[in-house]
C-alpha cells in the first residue's frame, strides 16, 4: 500500500480495495487538518487545477474548491453557461485549450455518462470525475463509505440499502461499487420503473417493499428523484411515491434497530425524507458533507503524487 493503482479518478469501478483504504487513511490526516484553526497545508502549491462544470452543482463544486484551497493548489473555474461551448466548441478542444495554459489536473462534471472516461482517452492530463450523467460520482461514494465506516466501523458483511431513483442516479452506481469492494451487501429499493432491469448482474438484491428492506439494513442511503433526467413519468404522483418510499420518523421508529440515514444532497424535504428524519441523530448528512472535503483533499493529494 503506497500509491494509487490509477492515474485518474474516473469511477469506483476502476479502484481496488487497497486504493479505497489508502484514500480513507489519507483522509483521516486531512480531516484532522481541516479541523485546525489554520486549515491549510502547502502540499499542492505547484499544482494548477481546473474545475470544469458542465452541469449545475453546489456541494461538489464548493467542496472541491475548498479542498484545493486547503492544499494550496492554484485553481481556475469554468462553467458551461457563458462559455464558448455555446459557440460550438467540442469538449476535447475546450479541455486542450485549458491544458495549454499549463493546467495539471482537471475536475469535471458533465451531463453525459462516460464523459470523463472519454476525456481521459483523448487528452493528456489527470482527470477527476465529479459526476458524469447517470454513470458515476466516485468522490460522493468515497465520502459516503468513509462517513459510514466512521460511524459503524468495518463494512464487511454489513447490509446497506439504497432507496429511490436507482435508474438515474450516478450516486447509486458508485455507491454499489464502493460498498461491494468493501465487502458489504447492497440492496436497492424503489418503484420497479426506477430500477434498471439488469441491476441484478451487479450482484445487488432488489426489494420493492421499503419496510421489509429497511428491517434488514444497517444503513440506508436515500436518493433524490432526478426530475431533470426524466424524459417521461416513472410513477403516478409524488404523493404516491412519498407514501411508499418516503422515509419518515414513524417508519424508522417502527423498526427495532438503529439504522444510519444518509443522503447525498440536495434534499427534497418531505419527498424522499422528512425534515424530522433529516435533522435527527440517526442522520449523518452533514458529516458526509464535512468528510467530502477531506476525501477530495486525499484524492487530489494522492493523484498529484503521480503527476509527471
Amino acid at each position: 500500500m503506497s500509491n494509487l493503482s490509477v492515474d485518474n479518478l474516473l469511477g469506483i469501478k476502476y479502484l481496488n480495495k487497497s486504493d479505497l483504504n489508502l484514500i480513507f487513511k489519507t483522509s483521516d490526516n486531512f480531516k484532522e487538518i481541516i479541523n485546525r484553526k489554520i486549515k491549510k497545508v502547502p502540499s499542492l502549491r505547484d499544482v494548477t487545477i481546473a474545475n470544469l462544470f458542465f452541469e449545475n452543482s453546489t456541494r461538489t463544486k464548493l467542496s472541491f474548491e475548498l479542498a484545493q484551497k486547503r492544499l494550496s493548489a492554484d485553481i481556475v473555474n469554468f462553467s458551461s453557461s457563458g462559455s464558448s461551448i455555446s459557440k460550438g466548441e467540442t469538449l476535447i478542444d475546450t479541455v486542450n485549450n485549458i491544458l495549454s495554459m499549463k493546467v495539471d489536473m482537471i475536475v469535471m462534471r458533465h451531463p453525459n455518462p462516460g464523459a470523463s472516461v472519454f476525456l481521459s482517452k483523448n487528452v493528456d492530463s489527470c482527470i477527476i470525475n465529479a459526476g458524469d450523467g447517470t454513470h458515476e460520482h466516485p468522490t460522493q461514494a468515497l465520502l459516503d463509505a468513509y462517513s459510514l465506516i466512521e460511524k459503524i466501523g468495518d463494512l464487511k458483511n454489513r447490509n446497506i440499502l439504497i432507496v429511490g431513483d436507482i435508474m438515474h442516479s450516478r450516486v447509486a452506481l458508485s455507491n454499489i461499487f464502493a460498498y461491494q469492494k468493501l465487502g458489504a451487501n447492497v440492496t436497492v429499493c424503489g418503484p420497479k420503473s426506477l430500477i434498471p432491469k439488469s441491476i441484478e448482474s451487479l450482484n445487488v438484491s432488489v426489494e420493492t417493499d421499503f419496510r421489509k428492506a429497511l428491517k434488514n439494513s444497517d444503513a440506508v442511503n436515500m436518493l433524490r428523484i432526478q426530475n431533470e433526467r426524466m424524459s417521461n413519468s416513472y410513477f403516478p404522483s409524488i404523493r404516491e411515491y412519498v407514501q411508499q418510499y418516503g422515509l419518515t420518523m414513524s417508519l424508522l421508529n417502527s423498526i427495532n434497530k438503529e439504522i444510519i440515514v444518509m443522503h447525498p444532497g440536495p434534499i427534497n424535504r418531505g419527498v424522499e425524507i422528512t425534515s424530522e428524519v433529516a435533522d435527527s441523530d440517526q442522520a449523518i448528512i452533514l458529516d458526509q458533507v464535512e468528510n467530502g472535503v477531506a476525501i477530495r483533499m486525499a484524492i487530489m493529494y494522492l493523484l498529484a503524487a503521480k503527476l509527471k
Binding site: 490526516n29 487538518i33 491549510k40 502547502p42 498529484a304 503524487a305
Partner: protein
C-alpha cells in the same frame, strides 16, 4: 557490509537522562514549555524523555504533542513514492509557549524546516528549540542546529543512521548502515 553499532542501550539510557536533566534545568517546572515530537520517528524518544522528566519533576506539568510534517515537506512529487502521513495530536495551545521539537536523527535539516512551518498552524510560540538524539553533522543542507543533542555522528550522505527502540524493535540501539537506500 555489517552495520556499525554507534550506541548501545546503556549509552542511550545515559544520554536520555542527561537530556532530561538539561531540559529540567532550562525549563523550570515546564509551565511555559511543551514538547512536540516529530512523527513518526520522534514519538518514542519524546515519550521516553517526558517519562524521565515526570519522574524527577515535582509538578507533572509537562505537555507532549505529536506533529506530522508530511504535507509540509519540500520533496512531495520529487520522490517516486507518495509520502504517507502519520497522526498529529496536539491538544493544547502553543501560543506564547516555548516549543521543544523532538526528533531522533538530525540529518539535512529539511524535516525540521517542514516542522517549523507546520507548527505555525497551531499558534505563535514564544520560541522553538530542537532536541535530537543523533546529530549527523557535516551533512546539513539548511542552517539548522540542535539546542539539545544526544551525540554527534560523522557520516557520509549515502549512509543511514537507524535508531531502534525497545518498544518497537526489541532493543535500544543506534546503527550506522553503509550504502543503504
Amino acid at each position: 557490509m555489517k552495520p556499525k553499532k554507534i550506541l548501545n542501550a546503556n549509552e542511550i539510557s545515559t544520554i536520555l537522562h542527561r537530556l532530561s536533566f538539561q531540559l529540567i534545568e532550562d525549563h523550570n517546572l515546564f509551565n511555559d514549555t511543551v514538547l512536540i515530537a516529530i512523527q513518526p520517528r520522534g514519538g518514542l524518544l519524546a515519550k521516553r524523555i517526558s517519562n524521565l522528566i515526570n519522574k524527577h519533576e515535582i509538578n507533572n506539568n509537562l505537555k507532549l504533542g505529536f506533529l506530522d510534517i508530511t504535507f509540509f515537506r519540500d520533496d512531495f512529487r520529487r520522490s517516486e513514492k507518495v509520502l504517507k502521513a502519520s497522526a498529529t495530536e496536539i491538544d493544547f495551545t502553543i501560543e506564547n509557549k516555548t516549543v521543544v521539537l523532538v526528533d531522533d536523527v538530525l540529518f539535512t535539516g529539511r524535516s525540521i524546516r517542514a516542522a517549523l512551518n507546520a507548527i505555525q498552524s497551531f499558534g505563535r510560540p514564544k520560541a522553538i528549540q530542537l532536541l535530537t538524539l543523533i546529530d549527523r553533522r557535516f551533512s546539513r543542507e539548511l542552517p539548522i542546529q540542535p539546542d539539545y543533542c544526544g551525540t554527534q555522528v560523522d557520516s557520509r550522505l549515502n549512509e543511514k543512521v537507524i535508531v531502534n527502540w525497545d518498544e518497537n524493535d526489541g532493543e535500544d540501539s543506534v546503527y550506522l548502515y553503509k550504502n543503504k537506500k
